[in-house]
Symmetry: C2
Subunit: 362 residues, 2 copies
């Protein structure tokens, strides 16, 4: 499946194809890039996939310099970005060269930030290997590193030249990571596409069984939904892109108050979806059945929908520090029904507290 992302001179293609990892070089060749590449990855991912990817690049005529970063979120520091810049200078890469991110969302975030800022922007290619990165982080040009006091605080928009998704890479993901990625897939269905959501409801067993055909269809469909939003709002300037934030206003706050170690991002988003679904019901925007379908699907794929021990006051504080805040007002995306969204700005703290209290329930 090839999904075009139409962004004028910044247009690119998302390739979703089993086995495509070993064909990266062929996909890069027509793009008119310089001959040098830097392959940014962590040691575990490089051990698993570095061989075929590098061979494919070399066969297609590209030179490859390896740049190693730590695994997971610890890659997203200024020190790691700075070491990557040093490595690019050492390797004498120029602006026509290409940084390739091979791995999960964190590798893509830091490698993208490095590519966005080296010589004011060099070519960047995403080869995501987790569900989360394939359907969400790798698409849309968001790059970031963390500030000691706030995640993703430093970054920029820098669109990739290609996103290459090999759905077979997620077959071997640890169970918790795999299920966490499904939270973003479900999110796309809830706010953007009722038919896609219904397909997910029908495909639970096949998804959890990691059937390759199902993975390709579901992951590809999710990429296409995200791409349709990016095309309409490439730099998060309008309401449409807020849809991608469904479940995240509360979800990010839950991550922040639990120190980013109790829940994975996807688990926090699942809880955020539940809280925001109940918020929609409380303000009279959504019917109980709409909330029930969201909760049922999250539960069916093994994501949490209830949690105890969260301090609602701290959640509200964390929500107020949202990057989307504008002079103190935080927009929240809600789903009036499956496949539709509405952005609301003036939800009172009491209603948010009420919705949060639902998370404590049985």
């Amino acid at each position: 499946m090839q999904i075009p992302v139409r962004l004028g001179v910044r247009s690119y293609t998302i390739v979703v194809e089993p086995g495509s990892l070993a064909k990266l070089g062929d996909h890069l060749r027509p793009l008119g890039l310089g001959s040098k590449t830097a392959l940014v990855s962590d040691a575990g991912i490089r051990a698993r996939y570095g061989g075929p990817v590098t061979e494919s690049l070399r066969t297609a005529g590209f030179s490859v310099v390896d740049i190693d970063v730590p695994a997971g979120e610890s890659a997203k520091t200024l020190a790691v970005a700075s070491a990557c810049w040093d490595a690019l200078v050492d390797a004498k890469l120029d602006r026509a060269a290409t940084v390739i991110a091979l791995g999960g969302g964190a590798v893509g975030d830091v490698a993208g930030f490095v590519a966005a800022t080296f010589m004011r922007g060099m070519n960047f290619v995403q080869v995501p290997t987790t569900v989360l990165a394939q359907v969400d982080a790798s698409i849309g040009g968001k790059t970031a590193i963390d500030h000691p006091r706030a995640k993703n605080m430093i970054g920029s928009f820098h669109q990739p030249r290609l996103v290459l998704v090999d759905p077979l890479t997620v077959v071997s993901l640890p169970d918790r990571d795999f299920r966490s990625g499904l939270a973003e897939i479900i999110k796309h269905g809830i706010v953007l596409d009722a038919a896609y959501f219904a397909d997910l409801e029908r495909s639970i067993a096949a998804m959890l069984g990691r059937d390759p055909g199902t993975l390709e269809r579901v992951i590809g469909g999710s990429c296409a939904l995200k791409a349709s939003v990016i095309e309409r709002d490439p730099e998060e300037k309008a309401e449409i892109r807020y849809t991608l934030n469904y479940g995240h206003t509360v979800g990010h706050a839950i991550e922040a108050v639990t120190g980013y170690d109790r829940f994975t991002h996807g688990e926090a988003v699942a809880l955020g979806i539940v809280a925001e679904a109940h918020l929609a019901r409380r303000i009279g925007l959504a019917a109980p059945e709409t909330i029930a379908r969201q909760e049922a699907l999250l539960r069916a794929v093994g994501l949490p929908t209830r949690v105890t021990g969260l301090d609602p006051g701290r959640i509200l504080d964390a929500m107020a520090r949202d990057k989307k805040a504008r002079d103190g007002r935080v927009p929240i995306v809600l789903a009036p029904e499956i496949g539709r969204f509405r952005v609301v700005y003036d939800v009172g703290p009491d209603q948010v507290r009420g919705a949060l209290s639902t998370l404590e329930g049985a």
Copy 2:
């Protein structure tokens, strides 16, 4: 004078107006920005202009947080950028807030980089107070910090929301800084506009006497020329933007091999213009009179046109590291006649050596 820069959703205006510094708030108000601003400047500039600028902002309803950076190029480090990010987090500035750079090119470069990368891009306003910054650095969205091994190596494109030029600020500039800025003005005339160049030739005495009306006309004219290039190529993807690099391929190399302390940027560009002018003659592209007029104007405003003691081999090495290199080929902009340009790619090292030897002559 108001100069529109038409860049679609990123369009903005360059205001060139004597006394405009004290009206910054009025010019910001119609832009729909958030209410918070951070005023980035160095201690010397802040002492001179911070008062009226801040008063104007407060009167127009903006809050102002001061962020101090070191004076000159030493502001352009990762450590300074990082301290600025910290200050923005401390001040709880959000994406609707505005970073205002008040000062010379270095302040604009680092403040722009910080604005480009904080929360993936916040509003940015340039208030340049040197000739160099007014006619060149503040326009076009280039932001940067230095890498220990290469100037401007880390940065991004981030267009300002407004550039406010008060030509009266350059009346009090130290003589060397003032004359250095004229190198960029002369460069714009050489490659872009014969009539403008002829006006400069006629206006030498009035420019050097810093006559306010002449400064406004010459600076405004130069801003308009640069804006016309930016509109056609906002992110240096095509040949047209290379015109702005006239004199800089050799000039940057001269700066690099002299450790950035023997010449100001403008002086190095003046020498680069002379070398590139002679290069154009050597490859049969330009007539001797075209070279003579460039040299004469540079000399008349007190810029260097000859230099001894440079090692041509090191200059050639430094040129090969140019950010515009693409797989090792460095484009060079030449002027076949005043007001016209041509980009050449395959100038041999012997011809460059020959042109450099001219700099040693009498």
